[in-house]
């Protein structure tokens, strides 16, 4: 019975064609209603809401088509039949009012804002629910909440908004990536990024979404909410609903934001004079002990140093960082008639980066159209097109083809102030020899001379047909597609490190990603007495494909044409690939409530996925949850303070389809390592090697989650509280498992491990102050504890970080900094504990370890008198104990002030950059100035002890510390940050009307205005190695976060 894709395609095409002609008819003007012959009387009045006149409100005689809309003053005039009894006054966003006419002829209608109903509906997977009916843990963020605080990106806007949601900016680069974790990390190889569903279309992308288009975001956290997404739900789900047009006059909205970004803080480095002295002092300590002590010649002469003292030298951070402008235009038009509603919105973001030669632009356009075809059929189409283009010089791990010596961010502070940017000939200066790392490349050259251009074009198309088949029975058929074309160009000319090594190095990457989804959703909604059922049944299919190619070229004879003339390269390597994933799903859900008091949700999903092994093509994901609305019970009815009180409990199983296509198949590869001169000719012969075993049993990672929650609303919704406790256990975790080598393979990826996350979440919100001054506030805090329950063969799994040579962080798996260990949490760092330096008073104790005062004091963990591998212990953890956010909005008359404070508590960062910034004889860090001397003994920076002095002490060294995994570099990365603060003024409508505007709002805003942290790097919110969550927690060469000041304007016509 399985039909091929093109058959489905044909069927859809047919359906769409047929719909188009219907839609065309639907646009015909409605036939005029028959004129009334009854005698009439005239009524008039004014409609106001929140103290403002409401233009465009509708006033209709109940039960007829007779009506009018209010003018720009909110006034209306209307002839009504004599026998008319009631008028209905309505306006979007307000509660409609019915007013009996009687003998009255002038009506002053005061409408009440319908905030409650707007907030009451929550989008859930494959449907919507009344908030009061929810049985699962869902956090909702409304679009207008986001709109209060100007932001460029939806993913970043989510930070601090929802309990249990950790958003981590991996770097501050414009267009850079974020890591989003909902309720911790459970997968090691599989990835922990939540599923993004935009208007029902799965596999979306938050960072390319225009924040202005967001109507609401729902974060599905517990299994009751996510199990409906089955094998893709284990990391939580974020549902985004975009804005739709509403019936009424066209509304034109324009907003503009202009900002300027600054480096949040600079690393504290020495000026030229101090640096030169520090180098000389270190050099002097490198004397050669012997019968005659040979003292080395100083690197810098006193004359030079005197010169440096007059002129502080080059501030390399100033050379590569700048204040950068950012502007954002938004224009939208929305409206609609009886049958057609539309919203068209466009956005243009142009962001310069604070790092020179970095920038990001985004053009986005969205059209959402809904059409009522008949009383029982409607359709909608939404299309979003996004073009992004960005460039950033190489930094951090992402710059894979760049040697660390040619990276900008890590190298710039390491170049000392004595070196000018350009030499006397106007060329980029080279690092002098005689100290430090002479091969390190000029960072201004690395930044300015690298050509990068990353282009992407995305199209998200989603269409649906809704049928009301019978009372309570509806069918929605959706068809959607996401396409993404990516073209990246990089060229490194001979003025860059990589280009110098390779005589010009270019890379072109092309990728085309397509994703199709068809969901058929049948919903039956039925009430019988006090019983209420909603049954949802869905059949769905998804096809995802990525085709990619990459060309790497070097040895260019002509350096100039570079990337756009790869033919000019002597060496060209090309690769290409094609991956496809198919998911077929069937799912069902039952929502049942009795007397609005007892609520039950049960769901079941079956997912068949092509990436699963032959023996496990189908996975099954059940969930069940119950809730008790205690506030509906009789005994609480009389307690006025309690508006809402609900207890929730849920259980369910979700999966993580963390398997790349073909991973369950055996793979045969051919490369330079499989060649051999088998034939015995002059050349080698191509060999094809079975490199990987088939695993027909390979399947999804399975997460079982239990959640207990409480929702409490007090004082008529003035105070709301939500609390949740959860336990998430992930089994069948994908890990490499050892095989007996007689199979021909050393290992295989298999479902072997297990992890657990437990946590609590608390949100409190409300309106403590109402009246002319209003204060709306919400606070959320959550804590997650993870534990690795089971790994595969060894109970310890190393993860490698690769900063490049010279950092003393080994790439050898046995001496890794980051380990996962059975019984231990994620993010654990292993190393030696240092306890500052030995003081003079400890001379004897130091001598026992063969150390002198001024040397680093290591903790002898096992007390055996030696410092060696046996003293390795846990020195830090990358995951926070708590994360929190506090969101506030004060409004008084036409002013409103909003701010968001956000923070994390109890996490550590390994500040890898410091290893070389503070290395004697090369480092530029000012901390070297506070190194140990007899006069400055309370310091963690060791002394420049003379070799001759050390020799004379005649001590036997007992310290065997082979690398830099020491707690000296581990810093507390807790922070509290004023993420965003905005002060806005809205002009009174009385004034704006005069220039034909409904709304005019001006604001000033700042992001990252202040941060309280002990962390000494550029920013505590960073993660440089993101291949998997076991690598989080190392700060190395990441693009620094900036501080942004901006001002803007919002206009509505």
């Amino acid at each position: 019975m399985m039909k091929r894709l093109h058959n489905t395609g044909k069927a859809f095409l047919l359906a769409w064609l047929c719909m188009l002609c219907i839609a065309a008819r639907a646009n015909e003007p409605p036939k005029a209603t028959a004129a009334t012959v009854a005698p009439e009387k005239s009524i008039s009045g004014k409609v106001t809401g929140d103290g403002e006149a409401l233009p465009g409100a509708s006033v209709v005689v109940k039960g007829t088509a007779i009506g009018a809309t209010t003018d720009s003053e909110g006034s209306f005039k209307l002839s009504v039949p004599d026998d008319a009894t009631t008028i209905v006054v309505s306006y979007i966003g307000y509660v409609s009012q019915e007013i009996s006419i009687g003998s009255q002829t002038v009506f002053n209608v005061l409408l009440i804002a319908d905030v409650a109903t707007l907030g009451d509906i929550v989008v859930v997977g494959y449907g919507v629910q009344k908030k009061s009916d929810l049985t699962g843990a869902i956090a909702s963020v409304k679009g207008d909440e986001l709109a209060q605080l100007p932001t460029q990106r939806v993913d970043q806007a989510l930070q601090g908004r929802a309990a249990g949601v950790m958003v981590l900016n991996q770097s501050g680069a414009p267009g850079g990536n974020t890591t989003i974790r909902i309720r911790g990390s459970s997968s090691i190889l599989g990835g922990n990024q939540p599923l993004i569903v935009i208007d029902g279309l799965q596999g979306g992308d938050l960072n390319s979404l225009n924040p202005n288009d967001v109507e609401s975001m729902e974060v599905l956290k517990d299994a009751s909410a996510t199990a409906i997404y089955g094998s893709q739900g284990a990391n939580g789900v974020i549902l985004v609903t975009t804005k739709k047009g509403k019936k009424g006059h066209p509304v034109v909205n324009y907003s503009y934001n202009l900002g300027v970004q600054h480096l949040r803080r600079k690393l504290d480095v020495m000026n030229a004079g101090d640096f030169a002295r520090s180098i000389n002092d270190f050099k002097a300590s490198q004397d050669q002990p012997g019968n005659v002590v040979i003292t080395p010649t100083p690197v810098f002469t006193p004359d030079q140093i005197a010169g440096y003292d007059k002129n502080a030298g080059t501030d390399w951070q100033n050379e590569i960082y700048r204040s950068a402008a950012m502007q954002n235009h938004q224009l939208s038009v929305s409206g609609g008639g009886e049958n057609v509603q539309y919203l068209v919105s466009g956005g243009y973001l142009n962001q310069q980066g604070i790092l020179i030669n970095s920038a990001f632009k985004r053009f986005s356009l969205r059209a959402n159209v809904n059409v009522d075809i008949t009383k029982w059929a409607s359709f909608g189409l939404s299309w979003a097109g996004i073009k992004e283009t960005g460039n950033t010089p190489p930094f951090g791990e992402g710059a894979a083809i760049i040697d660390p010596l040619g990276q900008v961010v890590s190298v710039a502070p390491r170049w000392d102030a004595t070196i000018p940017v350009y030499d006397e000939n106007g060329n980029y200066s080279k690092h002098p020899s005689g100290y430090g790392e002479p091969n390190m490349w000029n960072p201004v050259a690395s930044a300015n001379e690298a050509f990068t251009e990353n282009n992407s074009i995305r199209n998200n198309i989603n269409a649906f047909l809704d049928f009301k088949i019978a009372k309570g029975l509806t069918l929605r058929v959706t068809g959607g597609a996401i396409t993404r074309n990516q073209d990246n160009f990089r060229y490194f000319n001979r003025n860059t490190f990589a280009g110098f090594q390779k005589n010009g190095l270019g890379q072109v990457d092309d990728a085309m990603y397509t994703r199709y989804q068809n969901s058929n959703i049948l919903t039956y909604d039925k009430s019988v007495g006090r019983h209420h059922f909603v049954i949802t049944a869905v059949a769905e299919q998804q096809v995802e494909q990525t085709k990619a190619s990459s060309i790497l070229a070097n040895d260019f004879l002509v350096d100039r044409a570079g990337i756009f003339d790869l033919g000019g390269a002597s060496t060209v390597t090309a690769t290409s690939s094609n991956m496809k994933r198919v998911i077929n799903s069937f799912l069902g859900r039952l929502n049942y409530s009795f007397a609005d008091k007892y609520l039950l949700t049960a769901s079941y999903r079956a997912d068949g996925s092509s990436v699963f092994g032959q023996n496990n093509k189908w996975g099954y994901f059940p969930s069940a949850s119950v809730a008790w609305r205690i506030s509906e019970e009789g005994f609480l009815q009389d307690v006025d303070a309690v508006t809402d009180l609900k207890l929730r409990a849920s259980w369910g199983v979700t999966g993580n389809q963390a398997i790349s296509p073909y991973a369950s198949l055996s793979q045969i590869i051919s490369n330079s390592d499989t060649r051999y001169p088998y034939n015995g000719g002059g050349a080698t012969d191509i060999g094809f090697d079975i490199a990987r075993a088939a695993n027909p049993n390979l399947k999804w990672e399975s997460t079982t989650q239990t959640d207990i929650g409480l929702d409490l609303g007090l004082f008529n919704g003035r105070l709301n509280l939500t609390a949740d406790y959860y336990v998430k256990t992930t089994d069948d975790l994908l890990l490499s498992r050892q095989l007996p080598t007689y199979t021909g393979f050393p290992n295989i990826i298999d479902n072997v491990g297990s992890t657990r996350n437990k946590g609590i979440e608390l949100s409190i919100g409300g309106d403590p102050v109402v009246g002319p001054l209003r204060w709306n506030t919400s606070f959320n805090i959550s804590g997650n504890r993870s534990k690795v329950l089971k790994l595969s063969d060894a109970n310890k799994l190393p993860f490698r970080t690769t900063p490049g040579a010279g950092y003393g962080i080994s790439t050898n798996a046995n001496t890794a900094l980051l380990y996962l260990q059975e019984g231990q949490p994620f993010g654990q760092m292993t190393g030696w504990i240092t306890e500052g330096t030995w003081g003079e008073g400890d001379r004897d104790k130091a001598a026992a370890f063969g150390q002198l005062p001024g040397d680093i004091k290591y903790k002898d963990q096992n007390g055996d008198g030696l410092i060696n591998n046996k003293d390795l212990t846990v020195i830090g953890n990358a995951f926070p104990k708590f994360i929190f956010g506090w969101n506030n909005r004060f409004s008084f008359k036409n002013f409103d002030l909003s701010f968001l404070i956000q923070g994390v508590q109890g996490n550590d960062l390994f500040n890898l950059g410091r290893v070389r910034l503070e290395r004697p004889g090369e480092g530029t860090s000012s901390s070297l100035l506070s190194r140990w001397t007899p006069d400055n003994q309370d310091t963690s920076v060791p002394a420049f002890t003379k070799q001759s002095e050390r020799k004379a002490a005649g001590l036997t060294n007992k310290v065997t510390v082979g690398d830099n995994r020491v707690s000296r570099w581990v810093e507390d990365a807790s922070y509290i940050r004023l993420k965003n603060i905005t002060l806005a003024y809205s002009f009174p409508q009385v004034l704006t009307r005069k220039v034909g505007m409904n709304k005019l709002r001006l604001y000033v805003s700042a992001q990252n205005l202040f941060t309280i942290t002990k962390y000494t790097g550029y920013d505590p919110e960073v993660s440089s190695f993101n291949t998997n969550d076991a690598n989080i927690g190392v700060d190395f060469a990441s693009y620094p976060t900036s501080k942004v000041y901006s001002m803007g304007i919002d206009l509505t016509f």
Binding site: L5, I373, S609, L665, T684, F688
Partner: protein, 484 residues
């Protein structure tokens, strides 16, 4: 309004197509090679065999070089105090089984009828190469490790169906013999323009060695001496292979593919490229890693045969080895002058490492004929004497008192003489350890050379340990080793 009402007609079809038009969940990868979309042509089959030889290269010959580390317990190489640790030799186990996986892949495909539209004789040629290689792989494994997990094209996937027991040595040999017999009948005498590929002659040579090994320890099935003798005799009568007359020319590049060398590890200057500095002394800028045991070299150097100069570095630029920093001779077979100075300096080894060569066939004949007959025959004498004459650079077919073995040796004396001859002629070709274990020579050799090792020696040392994890899965380990 009619067409709107008729829309209802579409609901059912839409629902049905949506529900029923599921996509196939079977993966049909493009741009990704799996055993299911491979092995369609002879070239693809041979590419799998090519890769299998590369696997072996990684164990035996990371440059004919560090591979020697797997054989330090013989008497030729320095070190090896006869305390064999767990997991010793595991790279040989790993890589031979990896090679077998690639070879079995080809045989499985042939059995499944993958090579559609290909001439049967070509398929037979491919099958014969695969069986030749499988025979060679199991022959190496069974001698080193004893009872083995036996995996053929018919074995259910051992990844999903772990093998819990080892197959006895004798059964492994049955497969080896039948594989080589198939190879002998189906392989050509030579491949036009492809001198490195296995031939019928190489198969015969290896099968001779198989029979000879079966006749000795641990099976001691002496009826195989006659089979070895007869098979070697066939090769000698055949005339395809012959001794290179001058001992200095045996390893010259022009003789890489015959007439003496029958089959071995091939190499070219580009890949697999390895570094010959490993074999050479510091005075040649070498690393001197592959050091020879002085007690072994001293014994050999008591003779005056020119062969020493051909196979050993005894002097460099007029400096005798006694004046080397290491004060020892080094191995010459795989370095200059058998590769060019330029290749040497570039770190390339272009010398082949023979696995079977005609000199070996003659010596196997001598040994087998003597043992089958209960004493040396004239033909046996002649075979070993040809090798000895060449060692002295004397005419091969003219008897000489300088070189020839003394007449009238007993069966045992003659056998010792042949094994001694193998010790020198085939030195550093990774053959000595196999002679030591099949002739059970450890006590005898160490009594002379290293009496200090004697307390460490037991019969358990004639087998290497099964790699620990594999032993755990298989449920058994070789005696004398822990870590099952």
């Amino acid at each position: 309004m009619n067409n709107m009402k008729s829309l209802k007609k579409y609901i059912a079809p839409l629902l049905l197509t949506g529900v029923l038009a599921c996509q196939s969940l079977d993966e049909d990868p493009k741009g990704f090679t799996t055993p299911d979309n491979f092995y369609a042509t002879i070239q693809q089959g041979e590419a799998a065999l090519t890769s299998s030889m590369n696997d072996l290269w990684n164990a035996w010959a990371p440059g004919y070089s560090y591979g020697y580390g797997n054989f330090i317990y013989d008497d030729q190489l320095l070190d090896g105090d006869m305390v064999i640790p767990n997991d010793f030799g595991s790279s040989l186990w790993d890589q031979h089984y990896k090679a077998l996986n690639n070879v079995n892949g080809v045989l499985r495909a042939i059995k499944k009828g993958n090579f559609k539209g290909v001439d049967q004789s070509e398929i037979d040629g491919l099958e014969a190469q695969a069986k030749f290689l499988r025979g060679y792989n199991y022959f190496a494994l069974v001698r080193l490790f004893g009872d083995l997990p036996l995996i053929t094209e018919d074995t259910p996937d051992p990844v999903t169906n772990p093998i819990k027991e080892r197959t006895p040595i004798a059964t492994i040999y049955d497969l080896i013999v039948s594989d080589f017999e198939f190879a002998i009948t189906s392989l050509p005498a030579s491949w036009d323009g492809q001198p490195g590929k296995p031939t019928a002659g190489a198969a015969k040579g290896l099968l001779t060695k198989v029979y000879l090994t079966m006749a000795t320890a641990p099976l001691n099935k002496t009826e195989n001496y006659a089979k070895a003798r007869d098979l070697a005799a066939e090769l000698m009568a055949d005339g395809t292979y012959s001794l290179i007359e001058n001992v200095e020319d045996v390893f010259k590049p022009e003789n890489k593919y015959g007439p003496e060398v029958m089959w071995g590890f091939n190499s070219t200057s580009d890949d697999p490229a390895t570094d010959a500095h490993i074999w050479t002394p510091g005075v040649m800028d070498g690393w001197g890693d592959a050091s020879l045991d002085p007690t072994w070299t001293d014994e050999w150097l008591k003779t005056t045969e020119p062969r020493q100069d051909a196979y050993l570095i005894l002097e460099f630029d007029g400096i005798p080895y006694t004046d080397f920093d290491e004060q020892r001779p080094f191995v010459k077979k795989f370095t200059v002058p058998y590769i060019s100075q330029e290749e040497y300096e570039n770190g390339q080894t272009t010398a082949n490492l023979p696995i079977i060569r005609y000199a070996d066939v003659l010596l196997m004949y001598a040994e087998a004929a003597n043992m089958a007959n209960g004493g040396p025959t004239p033909e046996a004498y002649e075979a070993v004497n040809q090798i000895r004459r060449r060692a002295y650079n004397l005419p091969l077919n003219t008897p000489s008192a300088t070189s020839d073995l003394a007449a009238g040796l007993s069966k045992e004396e003659f056998d010792d003489a042949v094994i001694d001859e193998r010790n020198h002629e085939l030195s550093f070709e990774y053959d000595r350890w196999f002679d030591i274990i099949r002739k059970r020579l450890l006590i005898k050799l160490n009594t002379v050379n290293h009496p200090d090792y004697l307390p460490n020696i037991t019969d358990d040392d004639y087998l290497y340990p099964i790699p620990t994890y594999d032993a755990k899965i298989l449920g058994s380990q070789n005696p004398g080793y822990t870590g099952e």
